[in-house]
Subunit: 375 residues, 2 copies
């Protein structure tokens, strides 16, 4: 551990030296690390997070490696997105320590920019306990050792991102990757009794460019295929099902991948898969924004985008499990949880836009009502 | 019944003659009645709905009288609000028949006007069945005759209204009044086994004018006091509690009255109370809009209003029981249910507005965090 701590710097050292598997031990919190340097071979910033520890080193607890991964992922992504912002605006970071539940978070938001109406990238690390009601909502049958009454200690580290570009031709994107551990409060060893990864990335255009959707899905299929050829078809379908809005009878967007409760093989292999997927975000999304951000657009197109933003809000507030879980926490950090909401949105009663055959708005709706195989 | 049908006109006659208390009989649906004529003594339209049947005539089924009341209430309100709209814009009506569940509705919306950003007034009549799960959510202990397994026939007639003015100095307002009946499917008489009224009116300013809030509450206190002096304190508190947004630790607005499951005395007396409250809407709200609609405002004030609209959306989509009930229906009429959402809204991450002592925005937030006795 000593070598690891040294290479990860003072902040990580503070975490590593106090790291303790006991469910009741405090969780030390890292301070912010400096942004990653930009490597600009083709005038683009680096798409690859750099890490100061070896993420493949199985002797380092998974918790710590996941924290390192999401921190460098966040820095790399924010730096890359800033390079698309001609206003010179940067992400503003709010680093916070949790009170009642131990942990920390760093919400980075770029708001009201020229390219981005709102872009937010959060990391969140929580060490707290789940109420019996919350445990029951989480496939409780896997906790066959649980007495059904006691609170269960848990740990989660995750990174989530939502980007709403200003240009209606540039799609909104969301991702979330997280690592979860549940402990038995009666087990002093502190070894996790259950663990799993969850995550996914999905694309939500207001105007559909099929090439964009195909390239996006293609990259995620490739990332999945490198780990298991069964993953992409399964996680693509899961995404279409998860992001379905029943009261609109349409999906939120053109999908991508989504998975939860993933613990079907060695955690090292799943962690490698999660890293591969989360690292695919910039190669998948950056070129699309680069292409679309300066495309001319009309007031009509902006209005349609605003209406689509309304659907985004509906999904997130009515159905999204992450939002519900977050808002139902004892002391929710509402600003971070609702960072996913767009800067502006619109609801019209029975708008005529989207109803006429042959229009790009109707074409999008048709696809949202009948998901397509893109890759 | 014949005299009633004649005076209520052809459409009501169609309803009345096929009216049948059996839970399995079809519900005939009225067609739209013409708008009420405007009586303009002080240049204002009538604030009092006119009815073609005697609403106090207990020989007419409550269902039918409630339908008559909400139809004329809707017409009176729409006509009155139109008179505040210099654009000349009128409410657009969508009359619809329900498919799977029998019933009908009429959604009237005035959108993107000069005075009103969005104003909607719905009436909705439903005759359908509640699933056992839905029954259990409704204080099931009162259904002591229920076997716990069968679907229960129900009837509901209600009117709901949400008005979002354009001027940030003019408050948003909402009301909802409804009459509910539950039947025993094994009882061929069709008499309701349970019935109750629910409703309330509440005010949501972006900028607080204490005189407006006091006048508003004063009128509702007077309406309550005419029926029971215990009503206002009880329903005022219920309103503050119902429209509380836990994740923001604030109420949606400055309250008003709210009640549900009201069946504590003779239905005739409660119906008179409900009519009194719903008829108080125009005297309570119209003068406020008249006063505020042409008040000058800044971009900063408009931005604050848009942020407040975001909170309105959060309450309606995350917590409001009516919205949840509506969206969870077998075939929800989503456009009518989500008519309450504002035309435009805004979410900023950690906005500075509202944080500084001495500003009107902070003053509003302080009051939303600690409800005030206004009357």
């Amino acid at each position: 551990m000593a070598a690891v701590a040294a290479s990860a710097g003072l902040a990580a050292a503070a975490f590593a030296t106090t790291y303790n598997k006991s469910p009741f031990a405090p969780l030390a919190c890292e301070e912010r690390s400096a942004s990653q340097p930009i490597s600009s071979k083709v005038n683009r910033p680096s798409f690859v997070p750099e890490n100061t520890i070896d993420l493949d080193d199985a002797s380092i607890p998974m918790r710590l490696r996941m924290i390192h991964h999401i921190k460098s992922l966040q820095s790399t992504i924010c730096t890359a997105l800033e390079s698309l912002e001609p206003s010179g605006q940067k992400f503003k970071s709010s680093y916070y320590l949790r009170d009642a539940s131990k942990g920390f978070g760093d919400s980075r938001v770029l708001q009201d920019g020229e390219t981005f109406e709102k872009a937010g990238c959060n990391i969140s690390v929580i060490k707290s306990t789940l109420s019996p009601a919350a445990v029951r909502q989480m496939r409780a049958e896997r906790f066959d050792w649980w007495d059904g009454k006691s609170e269960l200690p848990y740990f989660v580290a995750g990174c989530s991102l939502v980007v709403h570009p200003r240009n209606p031709h540039a799609p909104t994107i969301h991702f979330n990757y997280r690592y979860f551990e549940i402990q038995d409060p009666n087990d002093p060893s502190g070894e996790p009794k259950a663990w799993w990864f969850g995550g996914g990335t999905d694309l939500t255009p207001s105007y559909l460019y099929e090439d964009d959707a195909r390239a996006f899905h293609g990259l995620y299929k490739a990332a999945c295929d490198r780990h298991d050829p069964a993953y992409y078809p399964r996680f693509k379908q899961w995404c279409d099902e998860y992001f379905y809005i029943p009261h609109r009878q349409e999906t939120r967007g053109v999908g991508g991948i989504f998975f939860d409760d993933l613990s079907d093989r060695d955690p090292e292999r799943i962690f490698a898969f999660v890293r591969d997927c989360s690292n695919s975000y910039l190669p998948a999304y950056y070129p699309i924004v680069e292409r679309r951000k300066d495309q001319p657009y009309s007031e009509h197109e902006k209005r349609w985008q605003q209406l689509r933003r309304g659907r985004y809000v509906e999904f997130n507030l009515v159905y999204d499990r992450g939002t519900k879980f977050g808002l139902a926490m004892k002391e929710p950090r509402t600003e971070s949880i609702l960072m996913s909401l767009p800067l502006t949105s619109r609801w019209e009663y029975e708008p005529e836009v989207g109803t006429e055959e042959g229009t790009p708005e109707k074409k999008l709706l048709d696809i949202l009502r009948k998901p397509v195989e893109w890759a």
